[in-house]
């Protein structure tokens, strides 16, 4: 099915249905809902990175002007207390500067803010744990005194929550066979997703105990279940309505404010709106892990890899859960390596709990390995594409993490890069060029979709994945293609938790793949019903009716003198043939196809100031099949810019007590538009056989390769390597000075 022919709608790039409202400012985001009698909720956050909370007293705040409710950790259920509940509001310990300790709801924002100052918290300040080196050192201050690595209580408690490793072949033998070996270690700093819209929600609880939450999220079904867990409620008593979302990139797959807002609404009897400031977003929401990666790779003279190892340590923040699994599994995924050993460490520090950020875990580990492979190519005097082609994984290669790859597009991407005019173009004088490969698994998971046909033939697609990248357009395109109708005849909507079937979070680049598959199946359900209805109308069997170009027609050879029946024809008479047309599908999608990329960039360092200018950037990526090519290119470009920002200037800067010194976009420096060249893109299409149109997820892979591509470009120009990121001007200038 993957090699579908004659696609009419899939592969075109119409305007997204939410576009006009967004550019004209009418789209309603998380903070845009106002309800009668609504209060404003505000959070008191710990000023200490690590402190025991001896007591919290909200009584003075409760007595203040306009305040109708105030809560602390003690107001939330303490049975089944998990990490998420502790992160939403601290109990016995504050584990990072910014950790929520109490919250109030008042009639105005000013009253709420003023009331925060009346909350009395007695802290016993403890030493912060701010780096991987500190956290992993013998005798380190413990973030969680009862945590033992991998739960092994026979060993002393440790800040290392999880240690995992996997191995293949004989690494020592592999390195012994190598003619050239490169070994290096690299650090990548904490980076925030940088979504423009801060977290916001409005919650109201009725007298019957039913809560309704409006919020910006990547997954309202997850908000429902996670909030239910923190509050000890049944999911049946919580309804979640997703707003439009101003960026997520993985950072809105979790909850922060929602249980607080529901609890404050319950206590006050009023709706409560809560909105984070940008500073709160930086101090209290989950960024990507800071990492420390040691890698080693060996090869024969002809470039064939003989062995590779990787040791990864990722900061988890205050609770376990750094993405060491995907970090370990992705680090060598692009290559066929006979002997390998990969170890990951999930390490607690007194900083905000990390959260998903686009291909979580992969940019950091692959940065290290792609830098080492670049050095290996230099030592062997090989082109960076050739050494990768020599070792590239392909259909049938066993991935380092176990499974055998189905058809994948890495080799096609490498070949496309090698012949790309931007790769053949000579380098500007004094500049450097760097190349790297990117990879992401992509996931399937559960999705539902419903397709309804109105009496005029208009098609409504209902699904449950908040649209963060143009997915409503993609759903409409796939529905139009399947049904054989024009794109304009289909409207896709994201329903709330009570108006549409369950969908897992919009994440893992799964939506166009998995929910798209559900939409296609729901359309096939409609087609089956239409054939049935046409058969009834024509007095034939459904098997004698075909669906061609959006119309029911008798199959060739069936003797029936009838006119074709369009969707509108059938819908108009649906009452006479069995009632409204309603198609449904639900599934747990299997076979998400991995997406590989090849990126290269030309950059120039001003060697007197250490500033790096990006002169050109090209991204080649396998999309399986691009349902909406312009939005696939948008994903590739956006991911490239985020990756370059991480490589150039983005980093969390903490003082020695663990207070974040740059909690805003002035000093947390994401790139501005003028920092970036046009990001050139080339979509490669190696269809995923598991999807009806061949879709692979495309949203995450684009952020992976830019980090190493830029490191390698700077290495190319300077003649020596700077191992760590970001390549901020002070770091680059200091490195230049050190070289003399």
């Amino acid at each position: 099915m993957a090699e579908a022919v004659d696609l009419k709608v899939v592969g075109t790039s119409p305007v997204r249905p939410d576009g006009v409202d967004k550019v004209t400012g009418r789209a309603a985001f998380g903070a845009d809902l106002n309800l009668p009698g609504m209060l404003y909720g505000k959070v008191l956050r710990s000023p200490h990175a690590h402190a025991r909370i001896k007591s919290v007293d909200v009584s003075r705040a409760l007595a203040a002007d306009g305040v109708l409710a105030a809560v602390s950790g003690a107001d939330f259920p303490s049975d089944r207390l998990d990490d998420l509940a502790r992160n939403v509001i601290a109990r016995d310990k504050a584990l990072y500067n910014g950790h929520a300790v109490a919250a109030v709801a008042a009639k105005t924002q000013q009253q709420a803010e003023a009331a925060l100052e009346l909350i009395d918290v007695d802290y016993e300040v403890l030493d912060p744990v701010l780096t991987l080196d500190e956290a992993m050192a013998a005798g380190a201050t413990l973030v969680n005194e009862s945590q033992h690595t991998n739960g092994d209580t026979s060993k002393p408690p440790s800040n290392i929550a999880v240690q995992q490793a996997f191995e293949r072949g004989d690494v020592d033998k592999g390195f012994a066979e190598a003619d050239v070996i490169v070994e290096s270690e690299h650090r990548v700093p904490t980076a925030h997703q940088g979504y423009i819209e801060p977290h916001a929600c409005t919650a109201t609880m009725n007298a019957g105990g039913k809560a309704t939450i409006w919020c910006c999220t990547q997954g309202h079904f997850d908000v429902r279940s996670l909030t239910a867990g923190v509050l000890g409620k049944s999911v049946g008593n919580i309804k979640v309505i997703p707003s439009e979302i101003g960026g997520g990139f993985g950072g809105k797959t979790i909850i922060y404010l929602e249980p607080l807002a529901v609890k404050l609404s319950e206590l006050s009897g009023r709706p409560v709106k809560m909105m984070m400031t940008r500073e709160e977003v930086f101090r209290a929401t989950g960024p990507a892990s800071a990492t420390w990666c040691k890698v080693k790779v060996g090869a024969k003279k002809d470039g064939t890899f003989t062995a590779a190892t990787a040791w990864l340590a990722y900061e988890a923040g205050a609770f376990p859960g750094a993405p060491i699994g995907p970090g370990c599994m992705s680090v060598l995924a692009p290559y066929d390596v006979p002997n390998l050993r990969i170890e990951g460490n999930d390490v607690l520090v007194t900083k905000p709990r990390v959260c998903a950020y686009r291909a979580p875990g992969a940019p950091q580990s692959m940065h290290a390995m792609e830098c080492a492979i670049d050095e290996l190519a230099r030592k062997l005097d090989m082109d960076p594409i050739d050494i990768r082609l020599k070792n590239a994984a392909d259909e049938g290669t066993q991935a380092p993490y176990g499974p055998t790859f189905p058809p994948i597009g890495l080799k096609k991407c490498l070949e496309a890069a090698k012949n790309h005019p931007n790769y053949l173009k000579p380098l500007a004088e004094g500049a450097g060029r760097g190349l790297a490969v990117g990879f992401w698994f992509n996931i399937g998971m559960q999705s539902s979709a419903e397709v309804r046909i109105a009496e005029d033939g208009m098609v409504t697609v209902m699904e449950g994945n908040p649209d963060i990248g143009g997915s409503r357009a993609s759903m409409a395109l796939m529905a139009a293609e399947t049904l054989g109708v024009p794109y304009e005849q289909v409207k896709a909507h994201v329903g709330d938790t009570e108006s549409t079937g369950f969908c897992n979070v919009t994440g893992g680049s799964r939506t166009t793949f998995a929910t798209g598959m559900a939409v296609v199946q729901a359309c096939e359900d409609i087609i089956a019903q239409c054939r049935q209805r046409a058969a009834l109308t024509w007095d034939l069997d459904a098997e004698q009716v075909d669906w061609v170009d959006g119309e029911a027609v008798p199959k060739p050879g069936v003797n029936a003198d009838v006119k074709p029946l369009s969707l509108a024809n059938i819908a108009r008479r649906a009452g006479r043939t069995g009632g409204p047309l309603l198609g449904r599908a639900s599934l747990n999608a299997q076979g998400a196809g991995a997406s590989f990329s090849v990126n290269w960039t030309d950059a120039r360092v001003d060697t007197e100031t250490g500033k790096t200018d990006i002169l050109a950037f090209t991204a080649v990526q396998d999309a399986g099949r691009a349902i909406h090519p312009a939005y696939v290119e948008g994903q590739m470009q956006g991911g490239a810019v985020q990756g370059l920002g991480w490589a150039l200037n983005e980093e969390y800067i903490y003082d020695e007590r663990g207070a974040l010194e740059n909690p805003g976009f002035l000093d947390y420096r994401v790139p501005v538009a003028s920092d970036m060249p046009m990001i050139d893109t080339q979509i490669v299409e190696v269809p995923n056989p598991s999807h009806p149109y061949g879709v692979r997820g495309v949203g995450e892979t684009p952020i992976v390769a830019p980090l190493a591509a830029l490191s390698n470009a700077v290495r190319d120009q300077l003649g020596f390597r700077i191992n760590d990121l970001p390549l901020s001007p002070p770091r680059v200038l200091a490195a230049l000075d050190e070289q003399g």
Binding site: Q110, E279, E608, T609, G610, K611, L648, N649, I653, E661, N662, L666, D667, R669, P671, V672, S674, D675, S728, P729, P730, L733, A734, D737
Partner: protein, 292 residues
Amino acid sequence: MAGYAYLAPTNVDEALGALEEAASVGQRAQMLAGGTDVLVQIRSVDKGPRTFVDVKHVEEANALSMTDDELFIGAAIASAVLNENARLKSILPGLVESADLIGSTQIQGRATIGGNLCNSSPAGDTIPALIACGAVCVIASPNGNREVATEDFVTGVGTNVLEPTEFLVGFKIPRPKGKTSDAYLRFIPRTEMDIAVCGAGVALTLDDDGTCTKAKVAIGAVAVTALPVPEAAAALVGTKVDDDALHAAAAASTAAAKPIDDKRGTVEFRKQVVGVLTRRAAAIARDRALAR
């Protein structure tokens, strides 16, 4: 918002009266120009109640005049307006480019060089440029105008010589004569929308041989206030502003800088780069002067 008042006087006397009245009843008053610093500060740094006195409608603070000997630039004129003034831009390219570096196009529609100076940040971009071109601050006070050289205006981080009953009306700048020009460069890790990690303004005059007869150098974001660097100027005077002289000026700026380590840059980085900027700005000013 609670406790805020807003006044929009139309001339110096009205503005002084507003400040005087606030002072007499013990109220806090703050002059507001474009508001591009103040509006951010009242949301995050200092939310205290006060009366804002908007200088944007004060006639004298919106005046722009150019005589043979002197220019006057009103403190309330938006950067975008200065940047659109081709004549001013050709006379004082360095000063205009320093204003043009601040914020986005939208911000520049409001932001002013007067506001930039009165905000008195160590990193204010227009301050080294104003010092380099010899700008004198015209301050309205209850006893008439008084004048203060720009290098003497800022007294510390966020503090300056203005009394609560005074405000900045504008700048008197000697009109550059003969082969005179200026330049300003700053370093930021991005291309725009950022705060100077360090900056350097240079104004110089060449004789007919191309020998420098007069120079003024000022550096920013490397001390609590912008600093004039007479040693750097002295390194240029009497030379053809060749490589040796440029490197000597750079070394003088590096030596004069007294920066701190912070989230925006290290001491070593700032000292080194402020020298590079001094050298590059002086070369630009020289080339501009030669082209006159």
